[in-house]
Every structure is written in structure tokens, then in C-alpha cells.
Amino acid sequence: MSTALAFAAIAEQVKSAHPSVEARESDNRQPWLLVPAADLPAVARLLRDAPALRFDSLADLTGWDLAKFPATPPSTDIAVAYYLHSLAHRHHLTLKVMAPRDAAQVPSVSGVWAVANYFEREVYDLLGVAFTGHPNLKRIMCPDDWIGHPLRKDYVYPQAYNGIAHLRDGQHFEDAPPRVGDPPPAPAAAAPAKPPVKSA
């Protein structure tokens, strides 16, 4: 469609309004915009409302832990990725926010795109990123009293939940036979990660 903009043009528009935004590329040349956490709500509103951009749809919001990712330079942040899509102009954009893993806090965009409410709850549940300003930041998949955030790379598997062991009788993780071809087992990780912010 003729009104669709390329990544460079979109990045140009966003950068002219918010100079702190950087255009980046992943290792396999997928472009994205790095947005500082503080600027995110303003950038999001710009992206949704600017007539030439009109990103009316948040197609996906997810994140991953960079702790074991062989990036250059190495990082221990948690990447939160926003995949935007414009149904009006039919173009795409990927935003990323890097949240430090110890105090992972990102402003919520649930006021901009309503669906972000659910996506952010999922990212909070599985990766432990607290979205400030979220109306209902509670766990969505795991039970409310679950310890740790499963998709973090230093997550320690629990042996039991509320006294219910989830392995067969007599079997424990350290006893499970190693798989052929697997690397030697890594030394046991640190204590389970605590949820960084207790939601209201």
C-alpha cells in the first residue's frame, strides 16, 4: 500500500520528536527502535496518534532475558519488545525497552493500546518486569503465590508447590538421568529470584 512507510522513515519521524530513541539492528538484520524506558509512554502515544504513523494495533508484546545471550557487548538486561502494526497504513515497527534485571521497571502502555493490559501481565508473570501504571498488575498464568519468574534464565525449578511434589516418587531433578549428548550439567544456580515488586 502506498501509505506504508519503511523502517527508516518511521525511525526518522520518531527520532525527530524524541532524540533519545536509537535505531538498532539485530544480528540477523531485523531493525528495531531502542526506546529508553522513561520515554516509552510519549513515544507510544506519538506512534499511535501521528497521522502518518497511526500504529493502531499492538500485535505482540513480549520479552526475553538477555543474561545468557551471546550479545556484544554482553548484557544482563531483560528486553521487552513491542511489535506494532498499523491497520490504517499497513506498516510495522518493533520497539524494544531494556530493563535492568534487578529492578526491572517499564512504564505501562495499557492506556495506549488496551490489549497491552494482558500482554504486560504475562510479561510480568513470566519475566518479572514490573509495569508501572498498570491498572491490574497480577500474575496471569502462574498462581499468585508462585515464587520466581519462569522465563528468566536463572530460574530455579521448584521441587514442589504447596507441598505437592511434581515429579514421580523417588525421582528428583538431580537424579534424572542426563541426556546423551547434553553438555555437562551446570552448577546449581543461585536462590530463586524474588518478585521484584509486589503488586498492589
Binding site: 544480528d27 494495533s57 500485535a59 513480549t62 518493533t94 493500546w113 488496551a114 494482558y118 498464568m141 522465563l151
Partner: protein, 397 residues
């Protein structure tokens, strides 16, 4: 026609009601915490996670091809589409580097279209059947299931399973079409079209059914987009967006996909984006899928002996590429029966994915429940749930 009573006019005394996780109309283990005043719902809050099996975490622990059986379990009602979404995503990742590029044979692409569209038919049959069952008509559901069984028979001959197929693989499909498959599929489609007319006479044209769905939980196009509705739910609200046509993957760009959108099919009482529109859009999509399967069958190249052949083969050799895929990330959107099934895949260059993220249609559909379920009748809750065609493992993954 929806209720004339608004939430604001309700009395102060509310009854709390737990619908689910064992309620017959919540399609699995979904729980709704409902507050009602008599028959009118003041508030309904969905509660998820009863079926959370950490499939995304498993994705980080198994090798690239070993995740395909797990995608079956993400959405078991349309496992072919779920397989396809993941495989397309991994292929796109491999294709970002010329050194690991993979060329899926044309015949495999055609077979993928055939099985995906057949599975879309059988999945929509469950959707419309289950919705009519929620509204008290049990017979159409079983007739839909009977047709689905025929599709399952075809799939069983094709790949040996009836529910969790694990048929689409990275680089192609696991098996070539079995002998006589084309004739079988054509025969099924011919019989199926006649059967669907009777199905529609029985339930779609029924005024009781139409009046129960008409005007209930109508979603405006702007709301549908903002709440991330996808697939038939989005199109029911009149938004003309189909990934098969607008961002084609595979060889969908060679098939002119016609996209039905909601137009207020219910007539007098109906509004664009109500439950009836979502229901009818699914039925129209079934017809469109029938046409696509026929077209794909026409395009199917002749099979050749060599299975990695670029035209007549069915499986490109990807074992070497998967041992050392390019480092980086990729995002792919595919159109599953329940809407967009999008994968975000992050690779650290090893034989195991670094992160596999699956975005499903049912999950985002639940985000609008709380907004919709205000001031409707108790009985409309099941209509709304049925019209969104949620599959709970897809929500909880």
C-alpha cells in the same frame, strides 16, 4: 436485542457467581468471576492459568525440530496450523542468512495449504458447533463433529494421527500425500458442501438462534483493533484484515484469498461486530477454505522420487542448518483459525532456541471479556464465550 437495563440502574445488592473452571460452557478450564444482579451481569473477570504448561519455557529446552510436537498442544483443535506457524517462523529465521537459507519445495507448500485449510474447516466446525451447543442446540454440534471426523480420517491416512499431527516440519512436510489423497479430499469437499447447507438451515437461519446472538456484545472496529482481536473475531467487527491475503506466507500470495467481514448479518436487530457476525464470518470462511483447498489441489506439482527436489519433493534438508542457525531474532505472523498465531523466535546460534514466544488469538480475545460482559444477561455470557471460539490451552499455553 440486548437488555434495556444498564449496569447503572441495577440495585446495590450483587451476587457473586463462579462460572468455571468446571462450568459446561467455558470450553475447558476457564474461570469467570461473575457479579450479577439477578440475571444481569454487572461484572465478569476472567481468571486464567489453569492449563498453563509452560510451553514457552519448554521451547528453550528442546532442539528446534523437537518443539513441533509441542505446537500441536498449543492449539489442539487446529494442530496443522499451529505446526505451520512455528515452521514458517524457523524457516524465516534460517532465511535471514544466505548461508543457512532453506527452499521449501513447491509440492510441500501446496500440501501445507491443503492441510492447513482442511484443518481450518474442521476447527471452525468445532467453533460453530460448540457455540450452537452453548445456546442449547445439541444436534448441529454433533453433525459438525461428524464432518470433522472425516477430515481426521484423511489426516490419519496422511500422517497417522487424528489430533496432534506433528505433520508440518521445518523445511517441508513429514510425508508426501498418501495414495488417492486428492480424490479423497475432493470427495469430502463435495459431500461437505451439501452437508453444510443443511447445517445452516438447522442453526444459522434459525430465528431463535439469530435473535439470541443479534446485537449481543457488539464490538466496534476501533475497539476490536485496540483490544488486539484477530482473525474471525476482528473480521466480525468489519475490519478487513487477513494475514493470508495481506502479509502472505507460504504460497498464499498465489491464491487470491477472499476475506469475509461482518456486515450485521442478523438484519433488523443486528449490529456490525455482534456475536452473530462472528458466527457467520466463520461459516463464510469455511466456504472460502473449501475453495482454497480446491485451488491448492489444482496447483499441486507431480511428485518426484527425490524428496528434497525443489518442485516435486516434500521435505528440504535442514538438519545441518538447524545445528547452527543464524543468531538473531525473527517474528512471523500466520493466520490460524483463531486468528493470528505469531511467533517471536530468538536464536543464539545454537541448536536450541533461545526464546520461543507464541502469540495466540484466544489470549488477546480474553482481554476484551471484562469490557463486554457488563449489562448483558447471564445467558449471554455463554454466547460471548462461544462466539469468540476460545481454546483454553491456547490462552494458557
Amino acid at each position: 436485542m440486548s437488555t434495556d437495563v444498564t449496569v447503572e440502574t441495577l440495585g446495590g445488592e450483587r451476587m457473586k457467581l463462579n462460572m468455571g473452571p468446571h462450568h459446561p460452557a467455558t470450553h475447558g478450564v476457564l474461570r469467570l468471576m461473575v457479579e450479577t444482579d439477578g440475571e444481569i451481569v454487572a461484572k465478569a473477570v476472567p481468571d486464567h492459568g489453569f492449563l498453563h504448561r509452560s510451553i514457552e519455557k519448554i521451547g528453550e529446552c528442546v532442539e528446534w525440530p523437537m518443539f513441533v510436537p509441542y505446537t500441536d498442544r498449543i492449539d489442539y483443535v487446529c494442530a496443522m496450523n499451529a505446526n505451520l506457524a512455528y515452521c514458517v517462523a524457523v524457516e524465516k529465521l534460517l532465511n535471514t542468512d544466505p548461508a543457512t537459507a532453506v527452499q521449501v519445495p513447491l509440492r510441500a507448500e501446496c500440501i501445507r495449504i491443503i492441510v492447513a485449510e482442511l484443518n481450518r474447516i474442521s476447527s471452525h466446525l468445532v467453533a460453530v458447533g460448540a457455540m450452537s451447543m452453548d445456546l442449547g442446540a445439541y444436534t448441529p454440534f454433533l453433525h459438525g463433529i461428524a464432518q470433522r471426523e472425516t477430515v481426521n480420517d484423511i489426516f490419519e491416512k496422511l500422517c497417522g494421527q487424528r489430533l496432534t499431527y506433528n505433520f508440518v516440519t521445518i523445511g517441508g512436510v513429514a510425508f508426501d500425500l498418501h495414495k488417492g489423497a486428492e480424490a479423497e479430499i475432493t470427495a469430502f469437499l463435495d459431500a461437505f458442501e451439501k452437508e453444510m447447507i443443511r447445517f445452516n438451515k438447522l442453526i444459522t437461519a434459525n430465528t431463535i438462534f439469530r435473535d439470541r446472538c443479534a446485537g449481543v456484545a457488539a464490538i466496534s472496529a476501533a475497539d476490536a483493533v485496540a483490544y488486539g482481536l484477530v482473525g474471525p473475531n476482528l473480521r466480525g467487527s468489519g475490519v478487513d484484515w487477513d494475514i493470508r491475503r495481506d502479509e502472505p506466507y507460504g504460497i498464499y500470495d498465489r491464491l487470491a484469498v477472499r476475506v469475509p467481514v461482518g456486515q450485521g448479518f442478523a438484519g433488523r436487530n443486528g449490529r456490525v461486530g455482534d456475536c452473530y457476525d462472528r458466527f457467520v464470518v466463520r461459516l463464510l470462511e469455511i466456504n472460502e477454505s473449501v475453495r482454497l483447498v480446491r485451488e491448492a489441489l489444482k496447483m499441486l506439482p507431480a511428485p518426484v522420487e527425490k524428496k528434497t527436489d525443489a518442485t516435486g519433493g516434500y521435505q528440504a534438508d535442514v538438519a545441518k542448518q538447524l545445528r547452527k542457525p543464524p543468531k538473531g531474532e525473527v517474528r512471523v505472523r500466520t493466520e490460524a483459525p483463531r486468528g493470528e498465531m505469531g511467533y517471536v523466535i530468538v536464536s543464539d546460534g545454537s541448536k536450541t532456541p533461545y526464546r520461543v514466544r507464541c502469540r495466540t488469538g484466544s489470549f488477546t480475545a480474553c482481554s476484551i471479556f471484562q469490557k463486554l460482559m457488563r449489562g448483558i444477561f447471564m445467558a449471554d455470557i455463554v454466547t460471548v464465550i462461544g462466539s469468540f471460539d476460545i481454546v483454553v490451552p491456547e490462552i494458557d499455553r
